[in-house]
Symmetry: C2
Subunit: 215 residues, 2 copies
């Protein structure tokens, strides 16, 4: 049985939950509360799973897998239906590239530990911290809109008419954007894709509000 270490509001965990749901894979849900007790992800119990102290991690046969994109590719390789990446190398590179535009250029800057550093080490006020949060989303979404249009494969979803790795990264990032009051009307393509995804049970079941540790 797979075991997912997850926090309901973690968007990297959210990505993996969508993949598990799309694949129809059952799993044990192990909540790791990122705020309680100074952060359960920083305690020895969880550091023994991932020394880096970030969620998610997926336990597979006693082997912890870390990093959401690596986990999702593992799930896709071991449970190919429905596929989350196209069949040929060039298209796979395009899909991975757009997914990483979110996962490597937007999301890391808005991680909890980064926000903590801004506040505690650099003395950044809450208002400027929220502006920082929105800035990386707005800059990233603006260029993602252009890249999506240019590649010209937007269909019902970000790349064609079935969800791919891009959608798995996009939906949790939009969730964060909405939470921080980003004006999503500026990103009509992303918004339309997000709506299409959330019409699917797998995306809704994976959402923060549907998790056992939701608050």
């Amino acid at each position: 049985m797979l075991k997912l270490y997850s926090y309901f509001r973690s968007s990297a965990s959210y990505r993996v939950r969508i993949a598990l749901a799309l694949k129809g894979l059952p799993y044990d849900y192990e909540p790791i509360h990122l705020l309680k007790d100074g952060g359960q992800q920083l305690k020895p119990d969880y550091r023994a799973v991932n020394a880096d102290g970030v969620v998610p991690a997926l336990m597979v046969d006693q082997q912890p897998l870390i990093q959401s994109l690596a986990i999702i590719e593992y799930l896709d390789e071991t449970h190919p239906q429905p596929p989350l990446l196209p069949g040929n190398p060039l298209e796979r590179a395009i899909v991975r590239g757009l997914a990483q535009e979110i996962a490597c250029e937007i999301h890391p800057l808005n991680n909890l530990r980064v926000l903590k550093y801004l506040k505690h080490q650099l003395g950044v006020a809450d208002e400027a911290k929220d502006a920082w949060y929105r800035h990386w989303i707005e800059q990233g979404f603006a260029s993602l809109e252009v890249n999506l249009e240019r590649i010209g494969r937007v269909g019902t979803f970000a790349y064609g008419d079935a969800p791919t790795l891009i959608d798995l990264c996009l939906v949790p990032q939009v969730f964060n954007a909405q939470r921080f009051k980003v004006d999503m009307s500026r990103y009509p393509v992303i918004s339309r894709i997000n709506d299409a995804c959330l019409a699917l049970d797998a995306f809704r079941d994976a959402a923060p509000g549907a998790q056992p540790d939701s608050e």
Copy 2:
């Protein structure tokens, strides 16, 4: 012919250069100066390649590929020798996870545009900015050391006795660490891997100092 949009000191470009060198693939080198003219990566010419305005990008048959990890996986799929990922899904996930620990948790926080934001938008002084830079490397390297040891596959390189995706991310990150005077003696495993890599022509030929736009 492949064309690589690169900046000599960009560590994401450096990763892709190592992959190209290991595979023995010739390519045209298109320098994008990140500082000159306010940043050539932000000009319309390059935005037409990658709207996100970051390097590297690899032009393949008129199709720009973006994001270093996606590009490297493309090269590995289309030119399988020598392989940069193990043959089975679980091991591939482990290697991708450790590579992403660098590419998604350390590197994005030290990108030029982030450092610019800290300085210009948040008024962070140079000393505190350098401390930020070192902080993410030190935190990331400390946990990477633990994760590498725990997985127990460190050989001559990070995962066995041939270079993998992990090494391609590790060496450029160590280059950055040294530039910012991180005390690398605290990371003996990473240091040993770095030395082993730099004994190979492919890694040396891909280094910032060996590029046509090197300063």
